[in-house]
């Protein structure tokens, strides 16, 4: 099963290689990884998407916790949470498809962030399934370039009933 794991780490030299080395050294899988500084510049947050059965994921979270520079590990999959990815897609459609490209971008709440005589660059954020859907739909129109971020995730706060 796939798991999205949030790892809060000390923003120190070499910490990324400690994490990635742990995954490669122990044969765990990284499907996607996104890293950035938090509001506190001394701390970075990594969102790692990995897969494995319960035993493996338990080991992954324990092994991550064992690293000296790791402050906190949260398996988001166990919580109610919001996940997002972003893609930038450069499409070069035929003349007759241009309107359809723009329509699709609108349906998926995408934005055209760049355009030229032959191309549109569309930015789309959303959950994995949404991203996959738009990619499928745009493929026949001629995708020229495609970049995608790793997943980021945040836990939802509970709402008290009035």
């Amino acid at each position: 099963m796939r798991h999205t794991i949030s790892v809060l780490v000390e923003n120190k030299f070499g910490v990324l290689s400690r994490i990635s080395g742990l995954f490669s050294g122990r044969g765990y899988n990284i499907e996607s990884l996104s890293v950035n500084e938090t509001i506190d510049p001394q701390i970075s947050i990594m969102t790692i998407v990995t897969s494995g059965d319960d035993w493996i994921v338990e080991q992954i979270t324990k092994q991550l916790n064992k690293l000296i520079d790791v402050i906190k590990v949260v398996d988001m999959t166990e919580l109610d949470h919001v996940e997002r990815e972003m893609v930038l897609i450069k499409v070069s459609p035929r003349q007759e498809d241009k309107a359809e490209v723009l329509r699709l971008a609108e349906i998926f709440r995408g934005r055209v962030v760049d355009s030229s005589q032959k191309t549109y660059t569309i930015e789309i954020t959303g959950e994995e399934k949404k991203i996959e859907a738009i990619v499928e739909l745009l493929k026949p129109m001629g995708i020229k370039e495609f970049v995608r971020t790793g997943k980021i995730a945040i836990a939802r706060e509970g709402i008290k009933k009035a």
Binding site: G14, S17, G25, W55, Q59, K66, I68, D69
Partner: protein, 578 residues
């Protein structure tokens, strides 16, 4: 007043109470070595190879419980430490290794003797540091010693660029360390401990499996109290030897691939395993699906990753073994009185039956020098009062099987990594820590040659280590596997023509060399060696065909054992046919 990085290094080590370290000089650490020249309170033992320095520091750490300290230069000096560091890492031995590094401005330029040692050792250290500013040095050293000792101990490496040793800073040594990202759990969960106590009280066929964690946490006394009070037999992993007295009536000896019949049998029949400070290594469990099929498992360990890594666990207790056992003993005495006395009688009887059925043995009638005989003689003559180090292979297994370790920190052997060449430098480290103790490296003729240069270190520093070489002219353990599983095709294991004359070799180093070629000479050689206050090599020319038994073939269940007696039967059968 500002002082140089080299001086900060020395002052910091003094603050940590370091008296001895091991090392080897080189270009980028010259500033530190220069300061050491006049230093009285901090002694550096010059080894003859950086690997030897790390093993010596490791032996020192295992024998004393204090962190071992190493100082070497950059590049090859640093890379030569890797095997030693990995050895310590696998066995959770606290150590701080300082490596020199090229000046910060040259890092990444492929400078002379540059190696990315922080990158290289990342997977085999508990943590490592590259110090870029001299202002950070004292704090990093403090953190390194803390990390090496805290929680599950391990080696920590500090990479010191040359300019950091010459730049100056105010010396302020931090009083203590607080890391928001590293807070090991020392106290076990009370509820879990109570649950464990109930399980122990109810068990009909319980067994304790004690590992190296018992020794690392200094919990031998608590373990003995627990085992005796609850009347539970104790088997030990190789790393756990000495954690519980080997001569105790509750001791089942070592378990696993070369464990005793009765230890392995007890695991397979048990209804409860109490695993203490051990990690269910494959050499312990054999075929994992067939391991302890009837047992519930209580697992006490300070490292959460050890729990549920290899086996299912019913009652996990994360905590320091000593703390947990102290509470467990209290709970046992207060809440679960000795309700098990009657229930356990049958189990005790069964264990005794297994002990009688297949005791640890070998061909005692043989005229040849059997390696086990040498180990037994060492035990007999020292009455167990010695620090034993080993190399790796048959020598190590015989030393584990035929010597009873009654006290912790008297058995120093490379368990997890299985590093040949460990024993001699480790003995040197232990001897430095305990100058008046008898320190004996039980070695093989193959392994001893892997760090034989350290004999010079022993001689020059007047460290009277004794090396008992069980000389079978083979890489014996590999040869054993070739005999049993590869139709006696001895590919590259025969050392016969090139084994050096160990007596002459010892003499060349200005040590003492003795030799026994007959069984009748063994005792005299040992007695003479033990009476000499100098390093001694003892060359015991042993039966090359001798094998380590019992043996669980790799991948088999641990009660699926091969025995010495059966081999004999097989041989007889073969003769009868001919």
């Amino acid at each position: 007043m500002k002082i140089s990085g080299a001086e900060i290094f020395i002052e910091s080590l003094k603050k940590e109470g370091v008296q001895h370290m091991f090392g080897y000089p080189g270009g980028v650490v010259l500033n530190i070595f220069d300061k050491l020249h006049d230093e009285k309170g901090l002694e550096l033992i010059l080894t003859r190879h950086e690997q030897g320095a790390v093993h010596a520091a490791d032996g020192y750490a295992r024998a004393t419980g204090k962190p071992g300290v190493v100082l070497v230069t950059s590049g090859p000096g640093a890379t030569n430490t890797v095997t030693g560091i990995a050895t310590a890492y696998m066995d959770s031995i606290p150590m701080v290794i300082f490596t020199g590094q090229v000046p910060t401005l040259l890092i990444g330029n492929d400078a002379f003797q540059e190696a990315d040692i922080v990158g290289i050792t990342r997977p085999c250290t508990k943590h490592n540091f590259l110090v870029k500013n001299v202002e950070d040095l004292a704090g990093v050293i403090k953190e390194a010693f803390y990390i090496a000792m805290a929680g599950r101990p391990g080696p920590v490496l500090i990479d010191l660029p040359k300019d950091v040793t010459t730049h100056k800073a105010e010396f302020v040594y931090p009083e203590d360390v607080k890391l928001r990202s590293y807070n090991p759990t020392y106290d076990g969960n009370k509820y879990m401990i109570k649950q464990a106590a109930q399980m122990v009280a109810r068990a009909k066929k319980p067994v304790i499996v004690a590992g190296g964690g018992v020794i690392l946490s200094g919990a031998s006394k608590e373990l003995k109290e627990f085992a005796e009070y609850a009347d539970v037999p104790v088997t030990m992993t190789m790393m756990g030897l000495g954690g519980f007295p080997g001569s105790h009536k509750l001791s089942l000896g070592m378990l696993g691939m070369h464990g005793t019949y009765y230890a392995n049998k007890s695991i397979q029949e048990a209804d409860l395993l109490i695993a203490i400070g051990m990690r269910f290594d494959d050499r312990v469990t054999g075929k994992i699906d067939a391991f302890a099929p009837h047992a519930k498992i209580i697992h006490i360990d300070i490292d959460p990753t050890s729990i549920r890594k290899n086996v299912r666990v019913d009652t996990p207790i994360v905590g320091d073994v000593k703390n947990v056992l102290t509470v467990l003993n209290k709970v046992m005495k207060e809440e679960v009185k000795d309700q098990w006395v009657e229930v356990r009688k049958a189990w005790t009887k069964q264990l005794d039956a297994w002990r009688r059925e297949r005791p640890m043995t070998y061909d005692r009638e043989s005229d040849m020098i059997k390696p086990q005989y040498v180990v037994e003689k060492i035990y007999e003559l020292t009455k167990g009062d010695a620090i034993i180090t080993t190399e790796v292979g048959q020598n190590q297994m015989w030393a584990a099987q035929f010597f009873k370790y009654d006290k912790p920190r008297t058995w120093l052997s490379s368990g997890g990594l299985g590093t040949m060449g460990y024993g001699l430098p480790a003995a040197i480290g232990a001897q430095l820590a305990f100058p008046n103790k008898l320190v004996i490296d039980i070695a093989g003729d193959g392994s001893i040659q892997m760090n034989i240069q350290e004999l010079a270190t022993a001689v020059i520093n007047k460290l009277p280590v004794k090396v008992a070489i069980l000389n079978n002219r083979f890489l014996g353990m590999v040869r054993q596997w070739q005999e049993l599983f590869f139709e006696e095709r001895y590919s590259h294991t025969k050392l016969d023509d090139v084994v050096p004359d160990f007596v002459k070799l010892a003499e060349a180093y200005n040590a003492v060399g003795l030799r026994a070629t007959k069984k009748s000479e063994v005792e005299a050689v040992l007695k003479e060696a033990f009476s000499i206050k100098r390093p001694v090599f003892m060359d015991f020319v042993t039966d090359w065909q001798e094998k380590v038994y019992p043996m669980v073939p790799a991948g088999a269940a641990i009660d699926n054992m091969l025995f010495y007696e059966e081999k004999k039967k097989v041989e007889k059968k073969l003769k009868a046919v001919k």
